[in-house]
């Protein structure tokens, strides 16, 4: 059972650069083909500061800076007991190679489901760019399987 006193716990992720090479690698791994994900000139011609980061890339920026295993153990969760339940992004501004992104990660809510068989942990992340603009808001639900916890 995840301790509800973890609600409100926050991690501040300091600024980190968005890297062009990594965007290219990620884009290739998921089958993006548009030149804005690969070619600096094409990205600038399309109005971006640098290569465009694909829609789910905000998650990569977060886990690069905040190791999920460490983050989860900080709220007494073992990664082997969890499932990723939901993931959502709200987009305000593009994230591009060359940007410097900082974020705040927060445990929004913790609640039990299925008569305590599962605990749902809602984690929100707000990502800001070098101009302190809010670029992406992410929300995820991590499901802790309590029978797995009890079996440890």
């Amino acid at each position: 059972m995840v301790d509800i006193s973890h609600i409100g716990k926050e991690w501040n992720i300091p600024p980190a650069p968005v890297e062009a090479g990594r965007i290219r690698f990620f884009s290739k791994a998921i089958g993006e083909t548009d030149p804005v994900y690969y070619d600096d000139e094409a990205a600038r011609a399309a109005g971006y500061r640098g290569l465009l980061a694909p829609p789910t890339y905000a998650m990569t920026l977060e886990i690069d800076q905040l190791d999920p295993i460490q983050m989860l153990s900080g709220i007494d969760i073992d990664i082997s007991t969890i499932l990723h339940g939901e993931q959502k992004f709200k987009y305000h501004l593009p994230i591009c190679a060359g940007d410097v992104i900082s974020s705040v990660v927060c445990v929004k809510d913790v609640y039990d489901k299925k008569k305590g068989a599962m605990t749902f942990v809602e984690v929100n992340t707000s990502l800001y760019n070098q101009d302190k603009q809010l670029v992406v808001e992410a929300m995820r639900i991590i499901i802790v399987m309590n029978n797995k916890v009890n079996n440890q």
Binding site: G31, T56, Q87, F89, M139
Partner: protein, 139 residues
């Protein structure tokens, strides 16, 4: 990329399916490195066996990334305002994922014309792996 407009897109319209090559071990290895999701359950068969699984399986975020890639096929990325999924079932090796989208609503929000989409990632055998939705702005 098809150019949909607010007028040309119809409620209940099914967009053209977008299908990916079957997922193999290389897919999972490259996505692990590229995305930073390096949980060995997705890339190390010995670890997967020890954890009680028959084999490694796909990162949920890979399939979400596939849905995202389908979205950027259907719409310019900067028109995508919201995108969310529920992870329904594990995607296994050799699953072939098809991304589907259906327009459920057209509306105006803060002076901008938008459409709401219902999304699905399913296998060749019609097993639903992800359900989700998106809101896109339309010219």
């Amino acid at each position: 990329m098809t150019k949909f407009t607010y007028d040309s897109l119809q409620v209940e319209q099914q967009l053209a399916d977008y299908t990916f090559e079957p997922i193999n071990r290389t897919t999972l290895a490259l996505f692990a490195g590229a995305s930073g999701d390096v949980n060995p359950i997705h890339i190390d068969i010995d670890f997967a066996h020890e954890a009680g699984f028959d084999d490694v399986f796909a990162q949920g975020m890979l399939i979400m990334a596939y849905l995202g890639r389908a979205l950027t096929h259907w719409f310019p990325q900067t028109d995508i305002k919201e995108f969310g999924v529920r992870f329904v079932a594990i995607t296994k090796l050799f699953d072939e994922i098809t991304c589907k989208a259906r327009v459920t609503e057209k509306f105006e929000r803060a002076g901008e014309k938008c459409a709401r989409l219902e999304l699905q990632a399913i296998t060749k055998n019609h097993e639903v792996k992800l359900t989700g939705g998106a809101i896109v702005g339309l010219p």
